[in-house]
């Protein structure tokens, strides 16, 4: 890295309505290096990449590529400048052939007509650089995800790319496929290409990356040489902690009482779903908060969805209060008094155009069925009660929920489920994206519910919160349960250690680095 860096971004700003996604972010990528871009949810990784590749327009800041100032206005312009991207989920056209996917938008033409022969040649050539031979006339959707990923990579290589951005390319690959991908990445690096590698698999970062840039909450945390940043440190940077500080305050937590009952409300055994959650055991008792901890993509949300019946399990049993049951849909879950607030409020939480009142009564009404409509006074009383109890800031119960702030929307959703008087409450990131005051209130609420004897499954990426709230912590990594902490074991440090600890069976992918 004797020459000037390939890409140099200074003070990048980008905001969306209500969110400052990037605040003065710097990012530098040298020539011929693999550079990891790390950060938890909401850190601004994908925004940074989308600005870089022209999907979004930036609000401020500067980016220089090969010494020239660039400002691509579309993915195509970015490609022309030499920046190619492989996105998180394979963003290709499933119904078209492999060859076409590689060349779409820049097909070889003669007199305006597409030359299929030339396109296939090009595609084969691009795949060849990845040491891959395959029938390029195959429909993409008939290929495995790994192959699709390779096709996406080939597409990126088909242009004369100098910088390749891989946005979480490994999330749906198995170990062998990941190893294959890494081989290709190293080969490309050898050819002088620079690669930005976005991933949440720590092991992988230490396996292939030369340097690491960490973002948190839209801000630049730091840039480090991989070899000089121990895993523990990296995790600490990502979640915004200082390792030494954590070591010091390892006993900062007042011990919380044991659960009220020994009989678990929910007991899952060997419960899993291919491709998302490895079979695992999990129990939640009344009066107990069990936290699911792990980094992004560790399978926390997937586990919750499985228990709630939003996804269907393909192995294992589930017992409610000691009796075996089947939960195949959220309606089943509701029948067993299980509640679930989802991670993504906008997509699967709020009904945006309906009022606060209607959003609150919806689940209770659904559990009562369509014919036993709650009378209006009852609805008003219910809505009023939760608006008051949860201190929901709204001009009134008839306000469409979309007009409320994130924190208040979250409270409405909590209210929706509390109205059904659940026995098990699954809370997936209940405090994400809401202000500090509301956060504290929600934490207090969780504690109060626990004391009332509710069983709570709590998911949060903020370890501090996890430690404060839970009696038991189940640690997940890569869709697998890798540990369970109880009582005094629960501290940010131990959780991080568990996450960072190498496991014997995946040694090849996650080498010890701590």
């Amino acid at each position: 890295m004797d020459k000037a860096p390939l890409l140099e971004i200074r003070g990048l700003e980008k905001s969306f309505p209500g969110v400052q996604a990037l605040q003065g972010v710097d990012f530098t990528v040298g020539r011929g290096e693999i550079h990891a871009l790390m950060g938890e949810n909401g850190a601004g990784k994908s925004t940074l990449i989308k600005v870089l590749t022209g999907v979004y327009n930036r609000d401020g800041g500067e980016s220089r590529f090969e010494g020239r100032s660039i400002r691509p206005r579309s993915p195509r312009e970015a490609e022309e400048a030499g920046i190619s991207t492989v996105y998180q989920e394979v963003n290709l056209i499933p119904h078209l052939s492999v060859a076409e996917n590689i060349c779409l938008g820049r097909q070889t033409t003669r007199l305006g007509f597409v030359r299929w022969h030339a396109i296939r040649k090009r595609a084969e050539k691009a795949l060849h650089r990845l040491d891959l031979t395959l029938d390029t006339s195959r429909q993409l959707s008939s290929c495995s995800v790994a192959i699709q990923q390779m096709v996406a990579l080939a597409r990126a290589l088909d242009t004369s790319a100098k910088l390749l951005i891989l946005d979480e390319p490994t999330s749906s690959l198995d170990e062998r496929e990941v190893a294959e991908l890494f081989k290709v990445m190293r080969k490309l690096r050898g050819e002088g290409m620079s690669i930005v590698f976005v991933t949440h698999f720590l092991g992988q970062v230490y396996q292939v990356c030369d340097r690491i840039t960490v973002l948190r909450s839209g801000k630049h945390v730091g840039e480090y040489a991989t070899a000089q940043l121990p895993r523990m440190e990296l995790i600490a940077r990502m979640i915004g902690k200082d390792v030494t500080e954590i070591e010091k305050m390892s006993r900062s937590r007042d011990r919380q009482p044991a659960p009220l009952s020994a009989q678990p409300f929910l007991q899952v055994t060997n419960y899993g779903r291919k491709g998302s959650v490895c079979p695992m055991d999990l129990a939640v008792r009344p009066g107990e908060v069990v936290a699911l901890a792990g980094l992004l993509g560790s399978g926390r949300t997937e586990t919750a969805k499985l228990i709630f019946g939003a996804d269907q399990a393909d192995s294992g049993e589930i017992d409610i209060e000691g009796r075996p049951v089947t939960i195949r849909s959220p309606r089943d879950a509701l029948r067993y008094r299980i509640a679930f607030t989802t991670e993504d409020r906008k997509v699967d939480g709020i009904i945006p155009n309906l009022s606060v009142r209607e959003n609150i009564v919806l689940a209770l009404q659904a559990s009562r069925g369509p014919w036993a409509r709650m009378r209006r006074p009852e609805q008003n009383a219910l809505a009023g009660r939760f608006i008051k109890a949860l201190d929901i800031k709204t001009p009134g119960p008839e306000q469409p929920i979309k007009n409320l702030s994130g924190g208040n929307q979250q409270k409405v959703l909590l209210g929706r489920w509390l109205a059904t008087e659940p026995k098990l409450f699954i809370l997936d990131e209940p405090t994400r994206g809401i202000d500090v005051g509301a956060k504290a209130e929600i934490e207090k609420l969780i504690d109060a519910l626990r004391k009332q004897g509710m069983a709570i499954l709590f998911i949060s990426s903020e370890l501090e919160e996890v430690v404060r709230a839970s009696q038991r912590v189940v640690v997940l990594r890569d869709g697998q349960k890798i540990g369970e902490l109880t009582g005094d074991e629960i501290s940010e440090q131990t959780i991080m250690r568990t996450i960072a600890a190498p496991t014997t069976d995946s040694e090849a992918v996650h080498p010890a680095q701590l």
Partner: protein, 335 residues
């Protein structure tokens, strides 16, 4: 509520000023009589169908087969009365039975087989009229059964009896959707199907029910339409009525993307459409040209309701960004 009423008011004002006789109302043969009564009477069919269509559109779907279901119901009733010699009750039950069946058919295809609503209902729209022709054996069946004729021609409290039917259906529909939780569920499913499912709503059943009710409404409209001319004409009953109904619902402010629905507004929308038609008749404009102003009304109202259109001018400055973002196409049909 504001836009359709304003449009209706403007149209009526126009008629008041420029269409002589439009506002005359008199008592003839003991019944109220005049253009405005015509609007109500002729508009009854559109109103009936719009009521059902409102629910379907609220779930994010659409039902193209309403006109065909009208023809089916009318023909079945006439056939039972005239050809098979059954009584009035049997005829009406038969007609409404077939209408419910048609609604159930659409509902199953959309809710349980996940076929896009446009296509699923297109099947019945195409084939149904053929079935109606078979039922009538290709004939126009004339009938004189007094009860049957009363449905579309009788008077009640000096007003056309059809209005009573509309009122009855409206109240029934209102009770069914607003006095039970069905309305809330429909709105929830139409607004955010995933979140509704997570909240425990049986989205499929709700969708199915919407199509079923639309079938019933169309059946009633078909009875009224054929009764009005004392004959069942499988070719012509309800022709293009689906378009008027969709228009009435959209003008009434229920978005084609689903969600909140407004039964009363749909009725206002239906009246607006019918007033438009009647005005054109009264002004001696051929009925054939009538679709043109209707089309302009559709597009104008939709543009007014489109957020994107409203923001369009503001966005011109940051045009590039909006072009790069995926256009939000409101199609729930995608699997």
């Amino acid at each position: 509520m504001f836009w359709p009423l304003l449009a209706l008011a403007l149209l009526l004002l126009f008629d008041y000023l420029f269409t002589p006789g439009f506002f005359r109302l008199e008592l003839r043969g003991g019944n109220l009589y005049g253009s405005r009564i015509d609007v109500l009477n002729q508009g009854a069919r559109v109103m009936l169908v719009s009521l059902g269509m409102t629910l379907v559109i609220a779930t994010g779907g659409v039902d193209l087969s309403v006109g065909t279901v009208m023809a089916l119901a009318g023909t079945v009733a006439a056939r039972l009365l005239v050809v098979d010699g059954y009584g009035f009750i049997a005829a009406v039950s038969g007609a409404l039975g077939i209408a419910l069946l048609a609604g159930a058919w659409n509902g199953v295809l959309v809710a349980y087989f996940n076929i896009q609503p446009i296509i699923a209902t297109l099947i019945l729209m195409v084939a149904g009229r053929g079935v109606a022709q078979l039922v009538s054996d290709g004939q126009i069946i004339n009938f004189n059964d007094a009860s049957m004729v009363f449905l579309g021609n009788g008077h009640f409290f000096r007003l056309p009896f059809t209005l009573t039917i509309v009122l009855f259906v409206f109240v029934g529909m209102w009770a069914l959707t607003r006095q039970t939780a069905v309305g809330l569920f429909i709105e929830a499913v139409g607004d955010n199907p995933v979140a509704s499912r997570y909240a425990g709503v049986n989205a499929r059943l709700v969708t199915f029910l919407a199509y079923l009710l639309t079938g019933l409404c169309s059946g009633l409209a078909g009875l009224v339409a054929s009764s009005n001319i004392k004959s069942a004409d499988a070719n012509h009953i309800g022709l293009y009525l689906e378009l008027d109904a969709i228009l009435a619902v959209v003008v009434g402010g229920t978005a084609l993307t689903g969600g909140r629905f407004y039964l009363v507004n749909s009725l206002v929308g239906a009246l607006l459409i019918q007033t438009l038609t009647t005005t054109m008749y009264a002004r001696n404009i051929s009925a054939d040209i009538a679709p043109m102003p209707k089309a302009l009304v559709i597009i104008a109202v939709c543009l007014l309701q489109s957020e994107k259109a409203r923001r369009y001018l503001n966005q011109r400055f940051t045009r590039h960004q909006s072009a790069a973002l995926p256009a939000i196409t409101p199609s729930r049909a995608q699997p």
